[in-house]
Symmetry: C2
């Protein structure tokens, strides 16, 4: 609940950009997965940093939760206002503020999406590489420490955020990080905010690293007889130091999903989708080195996407994995999991995941940014089927435990949100109290996205 | 001062590894630059994490400062126990615990030095790339967020630390980060500790990312008529996306220093020292692309280091820049500065630095990891000459202000320690109180390296 006095102040500040209508609230209560709808009490649409600061000050004065939301594509319910309060819709702060092409960076507002950014960069010869598939906002991507298909080459949001402006829980506006490529001046607040899921501060501006569009881009696919061969091929490729730009695994179930959803017409065998970036000689050399490795694992049906259109179509299809997985469930929701293991453990983890899905009687795909040791199982669930939900929960738990047992993490990129708090103790143990101490120090009233990331305290 | 009761407990715990002799104290009070000697009250030599934890618990119970020290090569007095207490010498914790060559990572104790690590890795085909020149400890490098010559290609310690074990201010032992290549599970404590200069926790174990030794390494030098041409060549090289492994600037004064210190016999003109990593075709292609750029800036005297010995000699010389700079001062101390600017501002910053040094009547070199926009002025000073020290201070201040004005940072890699606290407010402004809040939350008694990194509070 928002105190009436707070609502009055917010309405005075924002006019028609402070909304309590059912439609706006309902829209901000939805999510892409299986979490129940949870509309906030109100929605605020700030247009400036100063407004964000004022909103947070008002909310702080009235102990009212503030939950930032970008494109609302996060997969663990991160943007849902589960304790009520204000949904802070950042989508009107979506401008490119400066393209510093000479310094290979760009300054943007957080509501800008990655696709819109790359559209704006088109004439510069530069691009922003982090690509989670969904057209997420750059603020949301920063807040979830997102990555995706190209992280194997260009890193995650952690590696690509240079600096930011943020509004803290008391309304103060800070700048942290540097436009220089590196800095050793004090605690790295910028990278503490990366991955903090809106619980430590509201990001109001970002300076992001850019990359030159490679002279040559070569995309290809190939097929394997079984998933072990596909994964072992990935492991050896990474170990050999080949600078893959993308290396994505689709298991036979995922291929079945693409066939169902997009008439992909692919044989239901494990596939790798690949991309190489470099000079023309370089990409040819890389592809050749890769094929030598792949041959040893019995890869067949090497197909190169020769035109830009073919390449775009290939990745557009890959980016529909979420919906293609759901398609196997014929109208069910998708429960997407996300684990990441040391690369040497990847075959063990993937095979275990497949077995566990079958053992739990679930329809589930596997798709992954396997060059990082990161993969997802996409489980089809009916949230009203308590038994199926329990089996999905049990499978997801088994997967998380497998990842931890193999020295990995319960989330490579989707984050904690609501769904993975239950594993925080197992993953972080004695470090967890120090995360709590940081939250308490930076947001003593617990108004920034309360109830997310950290499990309920003792 | 250490309370007698604390000293008794520490002696009981460590036996002869708890030392209060003048020799040990004096040795731990020295530094490589111009800070006055400041011996600690005692030196502790732990051998295990459990011992570190016990030491910190004892010190916490008696409000006694604990200052970790690795190789003591930090350049801003970071390791000096300026408020007394225990110097925690980490050098006995110097083992390689596991080489996970399949996962391209290694687990080490913090007292191990980077040279010793690479020695141990020799047979694996892998290497640890971060190279600050000095044979620093990996714990110290992590704590200062060190980088060096190869950061332009392989990143800084921030990019190369995957996980760590640390002892916090209350003695608890935590593990943070993951052996997987990426993770999105909560606040990034590991990277908060990177660069925290021993003020938030004592690092007792590190998991570091490794790289494959490149198939081909090509080193070279070339010469320019003036420093603008050299720097503009660097700027264009970086902007063009060439994956330089090393690109180091030496100005004419630095060359003079090498001639004085090592009989380098080089003409006193600006030089670039370069390295390319890749396949044989790749490095040849890169070198060719670089030369095309360099030609446009009038580069001459291209010389390739063809043998491994030549290459080693080249970088061994480069790594003596600190002492070669000091050599120009004939027995004086060195006051090394360190700034980093956006690459487009590098020529402005370097030229300004040279002018300012002359204007201040100082003997000063410039040497830099210029591919990152990072460079150092090495000022020869006599700490007993108050006037010269004041001029050095004024020059150093001008340089810091230039860096900030150009959108950069007052330290690219050496850190804050004692010497740069005075710029923290200018660089971080409203973010500084949040750094203080984190310090207060994690080390409420202020026993971990007190008086460093954060300027005295209000
Ligand atoms: C089809 C599909 C595919 C996906 N694939 C990937 C993938 O490959 N890799 C990957 O990493 N993710 C993937 N995701 C998940 C999702 O895209 C990412 O989590 C993304 O980063 C969320 O961005 P968003 O703008 O939608 O954020 P939201 O969902 O709007 O918010 C996410 C979190 O960020 C916070 N937040 C948002 N804006 C701000 C701000 N300005 N300041 C502070 N906090 C803020 C919110 O409070 C919330 O906690 C996928 C999602 C879908 C639907
Ligand atoms: C000739 C020379 C050249 C140099 N060139 C570079 C360069 O190119 N790039 C660069 O980045 N630096 C450079 N430096 C600086 C120096 O090498 C780095 O700062 C290095 O990281 C310090 O490591 P150390 O082991 O000597 O740390 P120390 O000096 O012993 O300590 C540094 C800081 O780290 C803390 N610390 C040490 N161990 C731990 C631990 N286990 N846990 C927690 N805190 C700890 C200390 O308390 C202190 O605050 C150079 C120094 C010299 C002398």
């Amino acid at each position: 609940m928002i105190a009436p006095e707070a609502a009055t102040k917010l309405a005075t500040l924002l006019g028609t950009r402070f909304v309590t209508s059912d439609a706006d609230r309902a829209q901000h209560g939805r999510n892409e997965t299986y979490y129940p709808d949870t509309p906030p009490d109100a929605v605020a649409y700030p247009e400036t940093t100063e407004e964000v600061s004022q909103i947070v000050r008002i909310c702080a004065a009235h102990h009212c939760p503030v939950v930032a939301v970008g494109a609302a594509t996060s997969l663990e319910g991160q943007h849902l206002a589960t304790q009520g309060g204000v949904s802070l819709d950042m989508n009107r702060m979506n401008r490119v503020l400066a393209v510093n092409d000479e310094d290979l960076n760009v300054v943007v507002q957080p509501g800008l999406t990655r696709v819109a950014l790359n559209e704006e960069l088109r004439s510069t010869g530069l691009f922003f590489p982090v690509d989670p598939g969904a057209d997420a906002s750059l603020g949301g991507m920063t807040a979830t420490r997102a990555s995706g298909t190209t992280a194997v080459r260009y890193g995650t949001m952690r590696d690509n955020v240079l600096a930011m402006e943020a509004v803290m829980a008391d309304g103060s506006i800070i700048r942290t990080g540097s436009k220089a490529r590196k800095s050793s001046t004090g605690y790295d607040l910028a990278h503490l905010l990366v991955g903090s899921e809106g619980t430590l501060g509201i990001i109001t501006e970002l300076t992001l690293r850019l990359q030159g569009i490679p002279e040559s881009t070569l995309a290809a696919t190939c097929r394997f007889e079984n998933v072990e061969d596909a994964v072992n091929c990935v492991i050896l490729t990474i170990q050999s130091g080949l600078p893959m730009a993308r290396i994505e695994l689709l298991d036979h179930m995922m291929v079945r999903g693409f066939n169902a959803y997009a008439n992909a017409g692919l044989p239901e065998k494990p596939h790798l989708f690949l991309e190489f970036h470099g000079t023309p000689t370089g990409t040819a050399e890389q592809a050749q080195s890769f094929r030598e490795i792949a041959d040893d694992f019995g890869a067949t049906n090497w197909e190169q996407a020769t035109t830009t259109e073919d390449r775009t179509a290939l990745w557009a299809m890959r980016h529909k994995a979420h919906y293609a997985s759901a398609a196997l469930g014929k109208g069910k929701h998708l429960w997407p999991t996300d684990v990441c293991v040391p690369i040497s453990q990847l075959a063990t983890a993937v095979v275990q995941a497949q077995d566990d899905a079958v053992r739990h009687g679930l329809t589930s795909t596997i798709v992954g940014h396997v060059g990082d040791g990161n993969f997802h199982a996409g489980i089809c669930v009916d949230p009203n089927d308590a038994d199926e939900m329990a089996r999905a929960e049990s499978f997801s738990k088994a997967l998380a435990e497998t990842a931890l047992r193999l020295g990995g993490t319960v989330s490579g990129e989707h984050g904690i949100g609501l769904g993975k708090q239950k594993y925080m103790q197992a993953e972080h143990g004695t470090a967890l109290p120090f995360m709590r101490a940081i939250k308490a120090a930076l947001d003593p009233q617990n108004i920034l996205n309360p109830g997310k990331l950290l499990p309920p305290g003792d």
